[in-house]
């Protein structure tokens, strides 16, 4: 027993050291740098008109995004889990498709589908007013965040809200809507709160979408302002402002997550009874239809518009076969982008592998005391918005690692550790203790149990967790755009750089390539119903 205990302590020590290096040290350096000139200087840096407006813009758009995404995600979850019959599987997969598209690529798709000179404009002369600006940012980020809210609420509907509880209310005389109001929604409250927090952080974290849709309208958020301060200005004042902005992001994120954690506690409910069946009558069929149409409009059409732009010779031409060409891809795939694709794949798979190793260390280590500390650090890494984390990592490790792939890797590990950890911890916790006991009572030593029982049963979850981190890494733009140097740009960075040069067709081709890199391997997973695994990807964008 003493040996096992020793191994656990060693695992936790290693995990804590890693957490300190990639998360603790950077965040502390960020805080120290921001406070270097005292709190007055910090407030002063935030008090400038541009910075103050950026903070306000970030806060209200994040709030609007959270409200919209949670409303849409909840409605969709009620439709797929309580109403839809045969088409349930397709609707579920459809709800999750936005997870496979990087949010800024989705924004590009929206501009091509609904923006000025987009296909809707070309076809019927109608464009979505305000797409460039806060309205567009809120809409597109909400579409990207909705699947995350959907997954949280749908999981709660499946596990926490017993269908039998709703049936009991029905047979007590409550109508459908009364059941929703008096039973379903009250039971969903923890999930709704959790989803709101995650969607708010998602909105706060958003960089690619405001960069694409906000810049033309001179609408800045904390993340885009940070990017401009860091990427286009070398002045000390700009850097000071950047650290101040980054600190404000950390504070907002930590306050929101901490408050939600305190409110949520550890409430659980077990499941019994029959699963909910389909058959929602007239209203139910209407719900299914609305959801299906919404998925097509907000996700499928923009994605198709982008694809059409990528294969059409020039912007403005109708996307008919006569105008089709693959030249845009040829132009997009120059030496630099091919290198960027390689680096993206390398960074993502390296981060995924390291993250799973670290997650295993935490899970194998002690559960109390220092083990919990490691868990907290991991959550902090995920909650801190990417822009702030990137600056923190730059401050802590820039001295030795600046302009190398390694510094991007450090940031990825810090950010995605929690993703891998949650995924793995979830399936480890769900493993019935009796399965391990049965193996021990059959004469297997702990390591043999791990090899013959635990790992084989967990293999699908481990694979799913690995894919999840790879997908998140390929999508990652916020941190990469702040940390890349000469010769270390990733594919997502290459797309946004080409976009800012203003070539829509080449941009579209690169964006399609980036999406295909993720979507092609992930689509079969979605269809296999492993969607839950890819699910929590959301807040990474």
């Amino acid at each position: 027993m003493a040996e096992v205990r020793g191994a656990r302590v060693a695992a936790t020590t290693l995990a804590l050291a890693a957490a300190a290096a990639v998360i603790g040290l950077p965040v502390l350096r960020l805080a120290a740098t921001a406070m270097e000139h005292g709190p007055t200087a910090l407030v002063g840096a935030l008090g400038g008109p541009l910075a103050a407006r950026a903070v306000a813009n970030s806060l209200w758009t994040a709030a609007a995004i959270a409200a919209l995404a949670v409303a849409a995600g909840t409605a969709a979850a009620l439709v797929t889990e309580r109403v839809a019959g045969g088409g349930r599987r397709w609707l579920r997969a459809g709800m999750l498709v936005p997870l496979l598209i990087p949010p800024f690529v989705l924004a590009l798709g929206w501009t091509r589908a609904f923006g000025p000179r987009g296909y809707l404009d070309q076809a019927v002369g109608v464009e979505l007013p305000g797409l460039y600006g806060p309205l567009g940012i809120v809409l597109v980020v909400a579409v990207a965040a909705a699947p995350v809210a959907y997954l949280i609420v749908a999981a709660a509907l499946a596990s926490r809200v017993e269908p039998d509880l709703e049936r009991a209310a029905r047979m007590s005389g409550a109508g459908r809507l009364t059941v929703l109001r008096t039973v379903t929604l009250p039971l969903l409250r923890p999930a709704l709160l959790g989803a709101t927090v995650v969607a708010f952080i998602f909105g706060l974290n958003a960089f690619g979408v405001p960069a694409v849709l906000g810049a033309p309208a001179a609408f800045g958020t904390i993340t885009t302002r940070l990017y401009q301060d860091l990427a286009f200005s070398a002045s000390d004042a700009a850097f000071e402002r950047a650290t101040a902005l980054a600190t404000s992001l950390v504070v907002v994120a930590v306050v929101v997550v901490g408050a939600a954690d305190a409110l949520l506690g550890g409430r659980r409910a077990a499941r019994t009874g029959l699963p909910a069946g389909g058959g929602g009558g007239q209203a139910g069929r209407l719900g299914v239809a609305i959801l299906a149409v919404a998925i097509v409009v907000v996700t499928a059409l923009p994605a198709l518009a982008l694809l059409a732009t990528a294969v059409t010779r020039a912007v403005g031409l109708p996307p008919v076969p006569a105008n089709w060409t693959l030249d845009n891809f040829g132009e997009a795939l120059d030496v630099r982008t091919v290198g960027a694709i390689g680096r993206s794949l390398l960074l993502s798979s390296a981060a995924a592998t390291i993250v799973l190793g670290l997650a295993a260390l935490v899970l194998a280590g002690v559960r109390r005391g220092p083990g919990r500390l490691a868990g907290t650090a991991v959550t902090l890494g995920f909650a801190v918005p990417g822009s702030a984390l990137a600056i923190a990592v730059l401050l802590a490790w820039g001295g030795v690692l600046r302009d190398t792939l390694a510094i991007i890797l450090v940031a990825y590990v810090a950010k995605f550790w929690a993703l891998g950890h949650r995924q793995l911890a979830g399936s480890v916790d769900a493993l019935p203790a009796d399965l391990v006991r049965a193996a021990r009572a059959s004469g297997a030593r702990p390591l043999v149990v791990l090899r013959t029982i635990t790992l084989p049963i967990l293999r699908p979850s481990i694979l799913a967790a690995w894919f999840l981190v790879v997908i998140s890494g390929l999508h990652e733009l916020t941190m990469s755009s702040l940390l890349y140097g000469p010769g270390t740009s990733t594919l997502a960075v290459a797309v946004i750089n080409v976009q800012q040069l203003g070539d829509p067709t080449v941009t579209a081709s690169l964006a399609v390539l980036l999406t295909a890199l993720v979507a092609l391997p992930a689509l079969p997973l979605l269809w296999l119903g492993r969607a839950r695994a890819i699910g929590s990807a959301g807040a990474a964008g």
Binding site: M1, P432, D434, L435, R437, A438, A439, R440, A441, S442, G443, A444, R445, P446, V448, T452, I453, P456, I457
Partner: protein
């Protein structure tokens, strides 16, 4: 480790008990689940742990298996101390087989590989382990299911595989944690027979946790009654049924009625019993018969019969196929009577009845 043979206990060097628990305390410092419990099981003996949920049955089994450490006391298996306050032999190094209430079948292994698993851990080659496992599956009547995964097996089939896995280790001690609790009534009976038969083949000692009285009485050589982590009574099935130590034990071990009675002089184990002014002569009396106490008579339904010198009114009748249960009200209380065959009287009728035996308990033990 070989599969034990019937009667092998006679050839054991020390001939001592297979399981010994000495003052075993289990649980947590602030929440003790089992209190200083003493129990021993002889080789080849099956002791049923009978108690309601929360009485500590599963915790005790887990401690014997080595899943949880003991707070105090010691556990001995086959003459070797496996658990005390300082020592804890891990489960894989104890000679135990465990059958779980949850079946605990591994989702990624077929029935054959599940039963072969303990054999592999003993160093048998894959083919050898599978061949032996196939024999065990055949013996359990599920040879044709060898290739199936747990998700493709019914509850009864799953538990047979679980039983096969526990037997495969050839352990000196088998531990059963409510193995039939998740099965329906008909299946429960067949599986009980299966367990009894297979265990007798191996000659292993067994602890069998259950909250089903009929199961405990039918399977066990001895029944241990557990209440809040304490041993209330231990004895043969007839002992705990006929002579429960108190009212709680009586209710746990089977249906029982309680009547206020007064007892005449006991001679040769028999006495006249007055029930609400009526006299039942020659009732076999056991229990606390000291003078001066005002005892209650505990009456099993098979200790009374319809027809006789006492009178009562039939309140209700439940026909159960092999027998019929009557609830008869008397001035001293309601007495349950069980007789073979179909109902012989109508509900509401006045009927005579007689008392053949009674177990006297002091009223304050209620």
């Amino acid at each position: 480790m070989r599969i034990g043979r019937p009667g092998s206990q006679d050839r054991r060097p020390n001939g001592g008990p297979a399981i010994v628990c000495r003052a075993v305390r289990l649980g947590y410092e602030r929440n003790v689940v089992v209190h200083d419990l003493d129990l021993s099981v002889k080789p080849g003996e099956l002791v049923a742990l009978l108690g309601p949920s929360g009485s500590g049955k599963t915790t005790l089994l887990s401690a014997v298996a080595g899943f949880v450490p003991v707070l105090a006391g010691e556990i001995e298996i086959d003459g070797r101390v496996v658990s005390d306050a300082r020592r804890h032999v891990p489960p894989e190094a104890r000679s135990v087989g465990f059958v779980f209430q949850s079946h605990a079948l591994w989702p990624h292994l077929s029935a054959l590989d599940t039963v072969a698993y303990p054999l592999r851990r003993q160093g048998h080659s894959r083919d050898d382990a599978r061949a032996r496992a196939a024999v065990i599956l055949d013996r359990l009547g599920i040879g044709r299911l060898a290739a199936r995964r747990p998700s493709e097996l019914s509850g009864g089939e799953q538990q047979r595989v679980g039983l096969g896995r526990a037997l495969a280790r050839g352990a000196r001690v088998l531990l059963f944690d409510e193995p039939t609790a998740n099965l329906d009534a008909a299946l429960r009976t067949t599986l009980q027979e299966e367990i009894a038969e297979q265990r007798q083949r191996t000659g292993a000692a067994a602890l069998y946790a259950t909250h089903d009285t009929a199961e405990a009485l039918a399977l066990a050589d001895r029944v241990a009654l557990l209440r809040d982590g304490r041993l209330v009574q231990i004895g043969s099935p007839t002992e705990v049924y006929d002579r429960p130590v108190d009212l709680w034990a009586a209710r746990l071990t089977g249906p029982a009625s309680l009547l206020e009675v007064s007892v005449g002089d006991v001679g040769d184990g028999r006495a006249a019993v007055a029930i609400a002014g009526q006299i039942a002569p020659g009732v076999a009396i056991e229990g606390s018969t000291e003078a001066g106490s005002s005892p209650q008579a505990l009456i099993r339904p098979d200790w009374a019969r319809l027809g006789g010198e006492l009178t009562g009114r039939v309140e209700s009748i439940a026909y159960r196929g092999t027998h019929t249960d009557y609830r008869v009200s008397t001035a001293a209380g309601i007495v349950g009577i069980r007789e073979g065959g179909a109902p012989r009287v109508e509900p509401g009728a006045t009927t005579g009845w007689c008392l053949e035996r009674a177990w006297l308990v002091r009223a304050e033990r209620a």
